[in-house]
Amino acid sequence: MGNEKDYLELIDGEKKFRHIGTRPIRPDGVDKVTGRANFGADFTMNGMLHGRVVRSPHAHAKIKSINSAKALKLKGVKAVVTGKDFPTLDPSDKAVGEVTVSFFDMSRNVIARDKVLYDGHAVAAVAATSPQIAEKALALIEVEYEVLKPVMTVSEAMKKNAPILHKGMKTSGVEPTPSRSSNVASRAEFKLGDVNKAFKEADIIVERDYTTQTVHQGYIEPHACVADINADDMATIWSSSQGQFMVRALVAKLLAMNTSKIKVIPSEIGGGFGGKTIVYLEPLAVLLAKKAGRPVKMVMTRDEVMRATGPTSGGHARAKIGAKKDGTIVAGELEMEYEAGAFPGSPVGLGCMTGFAPYNLKDVSCIGWDVVVNRPKAAAYRAPGAPVAAFAVESAMDELAEQLKIDPLKLRIKNAAVEGTQAPYGVKFPRIGCLETLTEAQTTDHYNSPLGPNQGRGVASGFWFNIGGQSSASVMVNPDGTVIVATGSPDIGGSRASMALMAAEVLGIELHNIKPLVADTESVPYSDLTGGSRVTFATGKAVVEAAEDAVNDMKRRAAKIWDVDFDQVEWKDGSACCIETDVHKPMTIADIAAMAGKTGGAISGKANINAKGAGAAFATHICDVEVDPETGHVTVLKYTAVQDVGTAIHPSYVEGQMQGGAVQGIGWALNEEYVYGKEGQLQNTGFLDYRVPVASDMPMIDAIIVEVPNPGHPYGVRGVGEVPIVPPLAAVANAVSHAIGTRMTDLPMSPPKILAAIDAE
């Protein structure tokens, strides 16, 4: 055990696993479906106060003054905080890791200082004895603004005389550094070969502009937390997030506290999709609790979630592809501008790196511009940056196939990235399953079925890196032989079940004897947050190693009891067995655990790792739509998602990730967008007006799992959570384009846009 090569040989040799690949009921399932599970807003404490946030009604304004005197006089109001209560941070203070963050900007996003930069930007926070009193107090906090002209789109923001959001911000990544302040924060460029020369060799070139709008992650559970701080300045935070250690680190940084003085207890999480990889309420709640001397609970309304959290960038992309007559692509070019929101940091660089990644291109150029606008600061959203880039590239691929009269899957297969292909960001791919998803898609009944009138079929592929990172796990053997598996990774997609399955596989015991749990920041060593499709891969790897550590501990105990050498003991089907003699009967995990006190004390295993070897993910989606030519309404008739997942630990939750990502992408393609008024106020702040797809809108999403094992994981796992949102934008757009006979390049493809496209024909 412990040798990745051995495991992979077993996988490639089709070794039958006992647990991996099975579909047991998730350990947290019953609590969730019966409403017993505790989410962020469910926690209460004695003497708890209720916090609310005063938010800017303006998209862009200077704060001239804030007067909270009237609010503090209101009976029941116990504390008010503003930006002045926060420590001053250095503008150059940045953290590099899973997410590169400027703490200076993050602090100003949590609460505004001299300027508000978007409708909904937090200006002050109040804590009171009831939610009603806190609400009343909001109106008593007087904020005087000097309203400035907002800048709402990248095209406005990039104009020479556009109002500037951050005086002194110069575009980085260009030489020489500009002397004037700009809303363009940075330029990123990735280049292979000589793209200009390569385009000259092309027989055919397709080139077009594509646009998308700001969209929200759309998690159902709003941001929520409770904070308490005692007389010794020891803070405890209960919150719904994608990382309890992330919350601890950011609160410590933003409030200049020692990490050891903050304990974060994770609640269940009702959806995150990247949007809960950041803090909004927690620092405010801690400061309010400190001022008031009582615990403070804060829960966002949906209006606040939409106005002040998330979203992901809208943007513009220009894609150009050159090919030979036989379909061999010779050159690709992509230039994109993404909205960063109010502070720099859109995922445009990741868009540049991913757009052409499914293809084997020797000459490619991708340029990205990160542009600030008066919208909420963009947060991560499943495969950040990739869907918009894929929308442009995969639409262009479709157009190329159309012009060359080649089947769109055949065109992709001809040019597919394989092991050894150099990605546009310069790195050569190890073993990948891009081609396998394409060939699998080609053989589906779906792809080979006929279409009716007003119907169209679209295909698209997508890529996501997947990441590893730091994970910790503890495997604790109880006196009766049952086992607790503790990790520091919040379960947002069924990871408890996956952790339990991998532990059961190593330990060789029944799954129901394993209890997986998500531990707080003081009960398990540090883990990076749940994001980047990393948990089943990286935390799973830690669980496997911790379980192996526990097995070795139990083998040592058995050797001691039998008075034989350690190497005379092997672990088989949950028991220690003596190899060379049958004098000693095998000892089960329960037998060994029962004797733990006599053999050295409690039995456990641990692993603290920085996981390397995350295998890249590829997916190919097929979408059939029918367009009503009278109303422009699009019905998704059939949808198939094919994805290389490495090895599916729990196939049902892998399929769930594929289906969920596909549906979110369909929403992005057809319905979702932030609608702003003239002065920059968000108009659609609820799920009635911001229309995410619901079950009745969707057909069954057929999920086809392809397994090309990842050499970097003991069981061959690849991350699965992000890549399924990459292809849908283009898959749907290509389907609609074929249904109406006009290429759709502007998302969302709402009925008015489709009718206009039909009328323009």
Partner: protein, 82 residues
């Protein structure tokens, strides 16, 4: 000597636009030290928001990862996720 590729933006700031380099080093820390001898200040920049890929394997946090004479080393933006 390992083949090393640094991002265009970094190359423009420190190496007059030269992105491709050949460096003799046994690990990434020493490789960066060697680069900084030629291009003072580049070590701090490479430590800021960049991951490294050695023969296709990406390391978000890097320090002592081994580099072979035949290795292909790419500095790339650190990858975040959702």
């Amino acid at each position: 000597m390992a083949d090393v590729v640094i991002p265009i933006e970094v190359a423009r700031s420190f190496c007059e636009g030269k992105t491709d380099h050949r460096v003799d080093a046994n690990n990434i820390r020493d490789l960066v030290k060697e680069l900084s001898k030629l291009y003072p200040g580049i070590d701090a920049r490479l430590n800021q928001g960049l991951a490294v890929a050695i023969d296709g394997e990406i390391f978000q946090d890097w320090l002592l990862e081994e580099v072979a004479p035949s290795s292909q080393v790419n500095f790339i933006p650190a990858i975040e996720g959702g």
